[in-house]
C-alpha cells in the first residue's frame, strides 16, 4: 500500500503491509488479525451495506465491559450497602458519576444498536439461507437473536443493582411476569428470587447474572457470531459482488470454493484480466488494513460518544428500595415499555373470563415474536438474489409485515414513555405532572 491516506501504521508498525501479498500474509502471521478476512470488497466496506452496526454494537459492549469492570470495584451487592455504594459512586468517587453515566447510557445505546442491527439484517435479507456453498446464514441470525435477548437480559439485570425504588419494583414485576408462565412459572420465579420474596438472594442472583453469567455467554456468542460471518463468506452483500463479477466476466463460474471467501482473488494475480477473480481483486481491499482502520475509527467514535453522553446525562438514582411503597407509575425501562403497555391493555374481562395480560403481553406475545423471528429464514421464499440487497422487490410483503410489527412496538413504546401517568392512565406530555406529596 502506498503512503496515501491514513492507515493505522503507527499502531501496527512492523507488520503494516507494503503489498497486497504482505497484507494477506499479515492475517496469517499476526494473531490479533487472524480473525479478519484477507480481502474485503469495497461494497462490504462501505457504510451503506451494513451501517457497521454490528461492529458498533460490539464496541459499545466493550465500553460497557470497561466501565462495568471499574464499577465492579466500587459497587457492593448487598441490600444494605448497594444503594449507599451507588450514592458514593455519584458523590465521592473521582469521576464516579461520569463512569456510571457512561455505563448506563452505553447500555441504552447498545439496546438501540442491537435492534437497528437486526432491522438492517432483516431489510437487506442478510439472514437468507440461500448463499454460497458452505454458507448458512440463518444460523448467525439465530445467534443474533440470542445476542439480542442477552442484551435485554444484561440491561434488565443491570437496572436492578442500585437497589432503589426503580430496581426493587422492576425485580418484583419482572419476576412476577416470569411467574405467570404456565406450569413452571412459580418455580421459575422462586429460582430467580432465591426465595419467595425480593431480598438479598435475589440481588445476589441478578448481580452474578449481570457481572458473570450473561457477559460470559455474550462474549462466547459474539466470538461465534463473528466467526460465522467468515464461514458464511462475509456480509451477504459479498454474494452480490461475486455474482456481479461473474456477470461481468460472463464466463462459467470457477470452482466456487475458491471465490466465495475471496481467497482466490488474492491469488488470482496471474489470471486473465476479465476473470471474476481479478475483477474481485480490483474491487476489494486488504482486510487487515481496511477493517483494522475502520474498527479503530469506530472504537474511538463509540467511546467518545458514550463518554460525552455519560458526562451530559447523569444516571438517575431513585429513593432507596421501599417494599411498602410502589412508585406511581412504576415504569419499566423504555425498551420494555411496549411490553408493559401490552400487559396493561391486554388485561380485560370478557363476560366472566379475565384475560390475563401478564401471560399474554409478558410471555406469549414476546415468545411468539421471538419464534416468528427465528423461523423467518425458513419461511422466506424469496430468490437468492434478494440476499444483501436493501428492500429487494421480491421481499416487499415480508418487509411490510416486519416494519408493521416494529412500528407497532415503537408506537407502544412512545405511548408508554410519554403518554402514561399515575395508575398507568393516559396523560398528555404537556399536562403538568402529578405533584408528589412531600413528607414535610
Amino acid at each position: 500500500m502506498s503512503d496515501d491516506g491514513w492507515s493505522p501504521r503507527a499502531l501496527w508498525r512492523g507488520f503494516f503491509p507494503e503489498t497486497p501479498r504482505e497484507g494477506a500474509d499479515a492475517i496469517v502471521q499476526n494473531f490479533l488479525l487472524h480473525a479478519l478476512p484477507v480481502r474485503i470488497t469495497r461494497r462490504a466496506l462501505s457504510w451503506l451495506a451494513s451501517g457497521w452496526l454490528g461492529t458498533i454494537t460490539l464496541h459499545i459492549f466493550l465500553v460497557l465491559c470497561l466501565t462495568g469492570g471499574v464499577l465492579l470495584f466500587l459497587y457492593v451487592p448487598s441490600i444494605e450497602r448497594a444503594y449507599a455504594s451507588v450514592k458514593d459512586i455519584e458523590f465521592v468517587v473521582s469521576f464516579g458519576s461520569w463512569i456510571r453515566g457512561t455505563h448506563r447510557i452505553s447500555a441504552h445505546l447498545m439496546v438501540a444498536a442491537v435492534v437497528l442491527h437486526l432491522v438492517r439484517v432483516f431489510l437487506t435479507g442478510a439472514y437468507k439461507k440461500e448463499g454460497a456453498p458452505g454458507a448458512f446464514r440463518p444460523l448467525n441470525w439465530w445467534v443474533g437473536i440470542m445476542l439480542m435477548m442477552l442484551t435485554f437480559g444484561l440491561s434488565f439485570t443491570g437496572y436492578l443493582l442500585p437497589w432503589d425504588q426503580l430496581a426493587y419494583w422492576a425485580i418484583t414485576v419482572g419476576t412476577q411476569i416470569a411467574g405467570s408462565v404456565p406450569l413452571i412459572g412459580e418455580e421459575l420465579r422462586q429460582l430467580m428470587l432465591g426465595g419467595d420474596s425480593v431480598g438479598q438472594p435475589a440481588l445476589l442472583r441478578f448481580y452474578v447474572l449481570h457481572c458473570f453469567v450473561l457477559p460470559a455467554f455474550m462474549i462466547y456468542l459474539i466470538a461465534y457470531h463473528m466467526w460465522r460471518i467468515r464461514k458464511d463468506g462475509g456480509l451477504a452483500v459479498t454474494d452480490r459482488v461475486v455474482g456481479d463479477a461473474r456477470e461481468t466476466a460472463r464466463i462459467a463460474p470457477p470452482s466456487p470454493g475458491k471465490t466465495y471467501t475471496l481467497m482466490g482473488a488474492t491469488q488470482g494475480v496471474s489470471a486473465q484480466a476479465s476473470s471474476p477473480a481479478s475483477l474481485l481483486a480490483r474491487d476489494s481491499e486488504a482486510g487487515g488494513v481496511s477493517i483494522v482502520r475502520r474498527t479503530i475509527a469506530i472504537f474511538l467514535i463509540v467511546l467518545a460518544v458514550c463518554s460525552l453522553l455519560g458526562l451530559l446525562i447523569p444516571a438517575q438514582l431513585e429513593e432507596p428500595a421501599n417494599p411498602a411503597v410502589t412508585p406511581n407509575p412504576a415504569k419499566a425501562p423504555w425498551y420494555f415499555l411496549w411490553l408493559q403497555e401490552l400487559v396493561s391493555i391486554l388485561t380485560f374481562r370478557v363476560g366472566d373470563t379475565l384475560v390475563d395480560g401478564t401471560l399474554l403481553g409478558g410471555v406469549v406475545i414476546p415468545g411468539i415474536l421471538i419464534g416468528l423471528l427465528a423461523s423467518w429464514p425458513l419461511l422466506d421464499k424469496s430468490p437468492a438474489a434478494a440476499a444483501g440487497v436493501w428492500f429487494h422487490p421480491s421481499r416487499k410483503r415480508q418487509n411490510r409485515v416486519f416494519l408493521f410489527l416494529l412500528f407497532t412496538a415503537l408506537v407502544l413504546t412512545v405511548i408508554g414513555t410519554f403518554f402514561r401517568g399515575a395508575y398507568w392512565a393516559w396523560v398528555w406530555p404537556w399536562d403538568t405532572p402529578h405533584a408528589h406529596t412531600r413528607w414535610i
Binding site: W6, A10, L11, L66, T67, V70, F73, L74, D88, V92, V93, S94, F95, G96, W98, I99, I296, L300, L303, A304, S307
Partner: protein, 156 residues
C-alpha cells in the same frame, strides 16, 4: 508549491490525530483507574474515647477494638500498641512482655524488640483526658515509652 511541505503537513496531521486518539483513550483509562483511589474512609477516627480512666485496673488491659494495651502502673496510664512492628499481627502477652503469634517476635514490657524478626519496638500512643473526664487515645500520635498520663489521686 513544495510537495515536501505538503507531505510534512500530512504527516503532522496523521501524527496529531494518532496522538489525540491515544491520549484520549489513555486519559479515560487513567480517569477510570483514579476512581479506584478512595477519597473517603470508612474507618473509625484516630482519636477515640475509651471511657472512664478508673475502669482500667493495675497491670495490662487489652482493648480489642483499638488493638491496644492500657498499662497502669506507678507512672500512671500508658497506651501500648498491640500491633507487631514486623507484619502487623496482634501480639499477645507473655510473662515479662509481649509475644507475637505470627513469627515469634518477643517484646519487653517497655515495648523494646528483643528477639525474632521484629525490626522496631512496639509503639506507645498519646493518652489524654477529655473535658467530660473520659480517657482519649490518639492513634495518630506516638510518644516515648515513659510518657505516662498521671492520674489525680482518688479522693483528692
Amino acid at each position: 508549491m513544495s510537495e515536501e511541505r505538503e507531505v510534512s503537513r500530512r504527516r503532522f496531521f496523521r501524527w496529531g490525530a494518532t496522538a489525540a486518539a491515544v491520549v484520549g483513550v489513555m486519559g479515560h483509562a487513567a480517569a477510570w483507574t483514579r476512581s479506584l483511589v478512595a477519597n473517603v474512609r470508612y474507618e473509625p477516627p484516630k482519636r477515640r474515647t475509651l471511657g472512664a480512666p478508673d475502669q482500667f485496673p493495675k497491670g495490662r488491659t487489652f482493648l480489642s477494638d483499638e488493638k491496644l494495651f492500657i498499662v497502669r502502673d506507678k507512672l500512671g496510664l500508658r497506651a501500648l500498641s498491640a500491633v507487631c512492628s514486623h507484619l502487623g499481627c496482634t501480639v499477645g502477652t507473655s510473662k515479662a512482655g509481649y509475644h507475637c503469634p505470627c513469627h515469634g517476635s518477643r517484646f519487653a514490657a517497655d515495648g523494646a524488640n528483643l528477639e525474632g524478626p521484629a525490626p522496631r519496638p512496639l509503639v506507645w500512643y498519646a493518652l489524654s483526658i477529655a473535658g467530660s473526664g473520659a480517657l482519649i487515645v490518639d492513634l495518630g500520635k506516638e510518644v516515648a515509652a515513659d510518657t505516662a498520663l498521671e492520674l489525680p489521686r482518688r479522693g483528692s
